[in-house]
Subunit: 165 residues, 2 copies
Amino acid sequence: MKIGKGVEWAAHACAVLALLPQDAALSRDALAEYLGVPAPYLAKQLQALSRANIVMTQRGVAGGYRLARDAGLISLWDITAALEGTTPSFRCTEIRRNGPCGASPGECLGPCDIAAAFQHAEMAFRDALSAVPLTDIVSKATDVAFEDRKGRIRDWIEQNATGLS
Amino acid sequence: MKIGKGVEWAAHACAVLALLPQDAALSRDALAEYLGVPAPYLAKQLQALSRANIVMTQRGVAGGYRLARDAGLISLWDITAALEGTTPSFRCTEIRRNGPCGASPGECLGPCDIAAAFQHAEMAFRDALSAVPLTDIVSKATDVAFEDRKGRIRDWIEQNATGLS
DNA sequence: TAATTATGGATATAATATATCCGAATTAAA
DNA sequence: TTTAATTCGGATATATTATATCCATAATTA
């Protein structure tokens, strides 16, 4: 079981966007610089976030990305689902129907018990992530940040965000 | 997030082995026939189960596979871990240290908040699977099986299992 | 010794993840 | 209206992993 690194990138990107003042935005290149990751690939993750309505985009001069709604209404699950999709991680191929003692259709009205157990486990995974809004991430990260770094972050945003009066 | 199909195969294989009488075993080919899957590849999954001490093996004539311990002491998580390993599905690359506003070592004493949330979610996933012993799977499958199929399964085991007096 | 059976390694192929680039569309400002 | 900035979607290339098979070897029993 593996989660693509796009999820990590996207989560950090959203955490940065959550720091922006109202109506400010960050370009792809600015975000990539802040996160220290290659811009072209980050763009892919941002597109996925855009399709999922987690971030809003604005093209053209002074455009960029911003959160599409309040950071308290965006969970880590939302971000994960946007990047990885929602197809179940366990793929049941109905082995129970195979072989010389395979189950008949009448015995397969319910889902396979093994598949059901995995589905249940995945729901627990999903629920745990759904319980973590972006605001949690941001506030915890802020808690442990030293004062001088908070200042540097403020300055960098001041310098790089667009849409600031 | 995806789980390899080896997990499915191994789970079904273990469920069959749980039906065997004490000291009986099934060969690789017999198991593959019962499950309706290619024998060579199934052998790989069985090897993983063997390394994880979930099944016992016996080579030579009349050898084969049997459960290494009581079915009540084998969980779906045990099987999953044997096949997929236990490395965390979320791989933290410490993005927080990157870029012009990267965190200093002193600010990274605890784990990254994002990684911690995923770790927590994965624990929930693992706990859910750990709560499902093989006996659950077997009993639920038996509940919905028609009588004639139960008989056919008994007969097939009688015919194909080794180590029966 | 002969027959059977799991093991480990090597290998081949398919699928997916990772990473980049480019033209087109869009937008704000000059 | 032009120009520069910027995201979007598609195409592509590469690396990694999953899937699947085969074979020589070791072990075991009759």
